[in-house]
Symmetry: C2
Subunit: 104 residues, 2 copies
């Protein structure tokens, strides 16, 4: 996790978001940063890690409970970003909600 | 998941491997490719996704069961690569074993 990391023993939850971007920035970078800042203020947020290369982007966010993930998904500013992502930024994407059972 | 993808409904399992590399390749690229090919031949392998930028690498592999993950961790060629990773390739790394509960 990044500098926002709060240490937590498993079980906790992870959202694995993988995406292939469309060409050009189209406001993506600014929105991605804003969303990361907003996520970090949500209840149950534990941290986020991101890596992007020319083929694929992977962002994993970590949360205390499934309910925290649900609330973040339904956050109104985040919903706007999700819609914009579907319309403009992503060729395709996948979201996986996971229970972290072990870490080392 | 990549072209090795086998479609599977949740629940299935994911290993989230995040790492910060040391400088230079030092044989890493070749070994990483060999490990991906070897993993794809293991029982229960469903797919793998990787992204790396200047700060962080994230590799997520997907598996049918926890036992498949355990066997892959204990694979002898993979064990050699893991040791080499600890000694030479990674400044630090994290492994998280997760149960994928939902995907969309």
């Amino acid at each position: 996790m990044n500098s926002n990391e709060k240490k937590q023993q498993p079980p906790y939850y992870a959202v694995i978001f993988t995406s292939q971007r469309t060409d050009g920035d189209n406001g993506y970078g600014k929105m991605a940063q804003a969303m990361e800042e907003l996520a970090s203020k949500q209840k149950g947020f534990l941290g986020v890690e991101s890596a992007r290369d020319s083929e694929l982007g992977i962002t994993v966010s970590y949360w205390e409970t499934l309910d925290d993930i649900k609330k973040w998904k339904e956050n109104s500013a985040h919903k706007v970003a999700q819609e914009k992502g579907k319309e403009e930024w992503y060729k395709n994407y996948n979201v996986r909600v996971c229970k972290v059972e072990r870490d080392y």
